[in-house]
């Protein structure tokens, strides 16, 4: 399946011919569009992720990470082909070096629940591992608030502070 849908936020093609990979993983098109995921060759961005030039041809899943102000802060990437993962080593997920984007790991908050502009009292929030699971839960339970831990990492004290800052409606 190919589509020519464009990202509503920046007008770039959001679903490339490789998008079937995401659709096969069960994500509906609207959910993919909403978070801006793309699957495309890494291209010249390989330097950003500390990869060799050979990685430019690798097909990757690009996961935008948004600042609470709504802008894309940086993009994490994930190799699609296990052979690429083996070829280039390292973890499944990669993100640009801290000195390039000015930040390390961040909570995956595609629905901007941490944005002070969107703050609203909440009874509860679900914290889940990985970006894919975050979007999967949102797809199934769009009424519930969900935030993801980047990859399979743990919650840092700074992330805990950000979560705790969400206004709780009752006993939070």
């Amino acid at each position: 399946m190919t589509t020519t849908t464009r990202d509503a936020r920046n007008g770039r093609p959001s679903i490339t011919p490789a998008a079937p990979y995401l659709l096969e993983r069960g994500f509906p098109e609207w959910a993919i569009l909403e978070v801006g995921w793309r699957v495309e060759p890494l291209g010249p961005r390989y330097r950003r992720y500390g990869l060799p030039a050979e990685a430019a041809d690798a097909l990757v899943w690009l996961i935008p990470s948004r600042h609470p102000n709504g802008r894309v802060w940086f993009e994490r990437m994930r190799f699609i082909d296990p052979a690429d993962l083996e070829r280039f080593g390292g973890g499944k997920y990669r993100q640009p070096a801290r000195d390039q984007v000015g930040t390390g790991l961040q909570l995956y908050d595609p629905y901007l629940l941490l944005s002070t502009e969107k703050w609203e009292p909440r009874d509860s929030i679900l914290l889940i591992e990985s970006e894919a699971n975050t979007v999967a839960v949102h797809t199934l339970l769009p009424e519930d608030a969900v935030i993801g831990l980047p990859g399979q990492s743990t919650l840092t004290q700074k992330m805990a502070r950000e979560l705790a800052a969400i206004p709780w409606s009752s006993c939070g």
């Binding site: 994500f27 591992e129 839960v137 840092t156 979560l163």
Partner: protein, 586 residues
């Protein structure tokens, strides 16, 4: 409320969940609930593999089943050993031994640990002549070195005396028998000497064939006059000896010698009490534990050669002796500490709570008799037995492996298939924990001997009801493993917290935790573990010691002024929540 969904539910992931919950709580989130496992799938799997409604319902069900993550109050605190080590597992003793131990403990109002450890020391001494083949070329003697620290006035001497009574009785019988044999041997020696003098005169006087006949008769007599093998003073045990005297005793008593003492003299002797320069002399004691060949050459004396030394040690001393042994650098580096079972029986002491009136019941006579019967039977079954001498193939005396003389044989036990399996399981579990950086690396010297100690114990317990010819039973091995765990917990505590005062303070802090107190002041420490004795400087020093050991840390609000005004508050400390008491007091 934060719900937490982690994909895996192994130990590491659960610990990570605990950490996440703790951090959230630290930041003010009041409740964190963890979702149960999604049938081994993650959220993306549910989305991809189930239909929309099915996946949605599955997640809703998981929310319903979410459980609060227990308060991980331990987070951020160093690991602490239980300050109150476990009580001796009496159920891991054969019935007749356990009954005697219980009765004796009741009579003397002591913790069962004392009588039980004394009983193990006596049993091992009785069985010491035997050895156990653990497989993999690993042969262990059955001796144990036991050091028990206990407060003064704890009646440890009385307990030790009663438990060791059968050894004393057997020793007196052996000495009486030896005395009778010596009288007969002396009489015979005098007769032979008279005949020898007569024959020598005849040889000097006679000529020709008569002289040759007398010479042959004299040669025969001289061969008959070989040194007597009657022991001059057979011994089974001693209370006090220098390291040199211990070597002499082992030489004179090839079936082994036990040291039983309720004082610390032996320890002082080992650590150089009689040495001009105060140098410890630990070699012989260390070698005897493994049954290694001992040869001692001293100036002006014939060499002492002990092919298979056997030595057992059971010492009941003041608690500070335990600290002295553990803290002695040479004892640690040379492996003496690693050879000792180190028990702190102070927390278990009944002093202060003993039954006085009416006096507790005495141990029934039949239990004393049953105990003596057990000790005698083990000693008899482990005695050296004569065997058919094997003829060497190329002439000359044949000496077997490990210095075993052919012609006499000491029992060698072997493990049953199941007991060997249990012992191997222990070894396999312990080995990776001894690696560089692993949790028991610091304790390699002791842990490396742990499985051997358990094998010795299993063999000895097996002999209470079995014989050396039978393989060591699975039951005996299970008992030994349980007692071995008790040994391990005590030894860890003795090595990591050698100071008795710090151990007492830790136990006191654990009591406070049990009462719901999480914070104490320096004054509390002064009044509590120090009993109000000494000056506040002493309490300050103890607090510093406890802080550096990780038992306390300065309270966060310690800098705040006294809300009631007046004098500033003394230092306050949070208690490490990992200090927990065992079920000893439960």
């Amino acid at each position: 409320m934060v719900f937490l969904w982690i994909d895996r539910h192994d130990k590491a992931s659960e610990q990570n969940a605990q950490r996440i919950a703790e951090r959230l709580r630290d930041e003010g989130v009041q409740e964190v609930r963890q979702l149960p496992s999604a049938m081994g799938m993650d959220a993306n799997d549910l989305l991809a593999k189930l239909d929309y409604e099915g996946a949605r319902q599955a997640i809703l069900d998981m929310f319903d089943q979410a459980k609060p993550i227990e308060t991980g109050a331990d987070e951020g605190w160093p690991l602490m050993l239980n300050p109150t080590p476990p009580a001796f597992p009496l159920h891991a003793l054969p019935d007749e031994v356990a009954a005697f131990v219980k009765a004796l403990s009741t009579q003397f109002q002591t913790a069962p640990d004392l009588a039980a450890l004394a009983a193990l020391g006596v049993l091992c001494t009785a069985a010491m002549n035997a050895s156990v083949d653990c497989g993999n070329w690993d042969e262990e003697t059955l001796a144990l070195y036991i050091l028990v620290g206990s407060p003064s006035g704890d009646r440890k001497s009385s307990v030790l005396k009663k438990v060791a009574a059968p050894l004393y009785a057997i020793q007196e019988e052996l000495r009486e028998e030896a005395r009778t044999q010596q009288v007969a041997a002396e009489s015979r020696r005098q007769v032979l000497n008279t005949r020898k003098s007569d024959l020598e005169r005849k040889v000097a006087r006679e000529e020709g064939e008569d002289r040759l006949a007398s010479q042959a008769e004299l040669d025969e007599l001289l061969a008959e006059m070989q040194p007597s093998d009657v022991a001059t003073d057979p011994r089974l045990f001693t209370n006090d000896a220098t390291p040199e005297a211990l070597v002499d005793l082992m030489h004179a008593n090839p079936e082994g010698i036990g040291v039983f003492a309720a004082e610390s003299a032996v320890v002082q002797n080992l650590f150089g009490h009689y040495s001009d320069k105060g140098n410890p002399n630990l070699n012989a004691v260390c070698e005897a534990y493994t049954g290694d060949f001992i040869t001692v050459d001293r100036r002006g004396k014939p060499p002492l050669i002990i092919p298979r030394p056997r030595l057992g040690i059971t010492l009941f001393a003041q608690e500070d002796v335990l600290a002295t042994v553990v803290g002695n650098e040479k004892a640690r580096t040379q492996g003496l500490v690693g050879r000792f079972v180190l028990i702190d029986a102070s927390p278990a002491s009944y002093v202060g709570d003993r039954q006085i009136d009416p006096p507790p019941p005495k141990t029934p006579r039949y239990l004393h008799e049953a105990w003596e019967k057990v000790v005698r039977r083990i000693r008899a079954s482990c005695a050296t037995k004569p065997t058919e001498p094997k003829k060497p193939e190329s002439g000359g005396p044949f000496v077997g492996f490990a210095g075993k003389e052919v012609g006499v044989e000491s029992p060698s036990l072997s493990l049953s298939h199941n007991s060997k399996g249990l012992l191997t399981t222990l070894e396999v579990a312990v080995e990776p924990r001894l690696r560089d950086g692993a949790d028991l690396e610091f304790f390699r010297d002791w842990m490396s001997r742990h499985h051997g100690r358990v094998a010795r114990l299993a063999s000895t317990l097996h002999l209470v009801e079995g014989s050396p010819e039978e393989k060591v039973s699975e039951q005996a091995m299970r008992w030994a493993l349980e007692i071995g765990e008790y040994f391990l917990q005590h030894a860890l505590l003795a090595v990591t917290t050698p100071d008795p005062l710090a151990r007492r303070a830790n136990a006191w802090l654990a009591d406070r935790l049990r009462e719901g107190v999480t914070e104490v002041s320096q004054r509390d420490i002064h009044v509590g573990p120090l009993g109000g004795h000494g000056k506040s400087d002493g309490a300050a020093r103890l607090c510093e010691q406890l802080v550096s050991a990780g038992a306390l840390r300065a309270a966060l609000d310690d800098e705040r002024p006294n809300p009631k005004g007046g004098r500033p508050r003394g230092p306050r400390y949070e208690i490490n929540p990992r200090l927990r008491r065992s079920d000893r007091d439960a």
